[in-house]
């Protein structure tokens, strides 16, 4: 059974959901406190959502300097799969494991609502069980969700096919399809090696029918049992 480390910071609040979603996907999931540096033979790392260090200074800015992050950095550089969800995405950007930054939502409001996102790439460790172009509904819960990057970085993300998730208007939600003003409707990206993925929506909150949906369950199931490689 694959081992998944769920990293916890002071202020993480999606750690339980992530642990459970990973467990339900058939993974051996366990917590690693941010003061620790031993990832305990992890096969993958999840950095869950929340408000690490109260979002002081900037979302993810302080968490990036936690001792555990140097281990995550080494793990990622060796090709280990790392998924950052929401605040986890912000932390990965601050740590320069992913490019760009997440800025204050264009509409100012903290948004806690469902969004429709299109799976753009299935050649990452977390999306292989979806298919390209598939639209799924996931919750977002963020105040700083507006992905921003330099023009050249955005062009590079597109040309290297590193946009993994994009907000779309699937017609069913009576609200702006792009909830936060994100550049190019980007909801998730990966690094050039494709093993580090950051996404704003919360698949772990849509991984159990008792909470209304299992649309996000395949993120962690992809890790447990990757689908056969497809063209994309």
């Amino acid at each position: 059974m694959q081992r998944v480390a769920i990293v916890r910071f002071p202020g993480s609040n999606c750690d339980h959901d992530s642990l459970k979603a990973a467990h339900d996907a058939g993974l051996d999931s366990y917590y690693v406190w941010h003061r620790e540096t031993d990832l305990k033979q992890a096969d993958a790392v999840v950095i869950p959502g929340g408000f690490s260090y109260g979002d002081y200074l900037r979302s993810g800015a302080i968490a990036r300097f936690s001792p555990v992050m140097s281990s995550v950095q080494q793990f990622a550089l060796k090709g280990g799969p790392v998924l950052g969800i929401c605040n986890g995405f912000q932390i990965l950007c601050e740590a320069s494991l992913l490019p760009g930054a997440l800025m204050r939502n264009a509409g100012l409001a903290f948004l806690s609502r469902p969004v429709d996102v299109r799976i753009e790439r299935t050649d990452t460790p977390f999306t292989s069980r979806y298919h390209v172009g598939q639209v799924i509904r996931l919750p977002v819960a963020s105040g700083d969700g507006r992905f921003t990057a330099a023009k050249e970085t955005l062009a590079e993300l597109e040309s290297e096919h590193r946009v993994v998730l994009r907000y779309v208007n699937a017609g069913a939600i009576d609200a702006e399809p792009n909830p936060n003003g994100s550049s190019r409707e980007i909801a998730g990206i990966c690094n050039p090696a494709r093993n580090v993925v950051g996404i704003m929506p919360h698949p772990e909150r849509a991984a159990d029918l008792r909470t209304g949906s299992t649309a996000g369950a395949d993120f962690l199931r992809s890790l447990a049992a990757p689908a056969a490689a497809s063209a994309a």
């Binding site: 200074l57 900037r58 800015a61 950007c93 760009g100 204050r104 100012l108």
Partner: protein
């Protein structure tokens, strides 16, 4: 020597600053006229020991680049008082 440091961090010009816009609208609602280009950032103040003001300035610049400002989205300025 001890220097008093004032760091100003502002969203990079040209990037959407929804907080600045909201405050601009609020000022207009209060009938303050002629207001434009409102931007909201952070002021960070601290004291630092250094051999000279130049050294202090260089040290604080490194702090800004590594932590106090986000190089993707923010610009900073530094004032050092002797």
């Amino acid at each position: 020597m001890k220097f008093r440091v004032h760091v100003r961090v502002l969203p990079r010009a040209g990037l959407l600053d929804p907080q600045g816009q909201a405050v601009e609208h609020a000022l207009a609602a209060l009938k303050f006229g002629g207001i434009s280009n409102v931007h909201i950032g952070k002021a960070i103040e601290f004291e630092v020991n250094a051999d000279s003001a130049d050294r202090a300035q260089a040290e604080v610049k490194r702090m800004c680049e590594q932590l106090l400002a986000n190089p993707v989205t923010e610009d900073f300025s530094i004032a050092v008082e002797g």
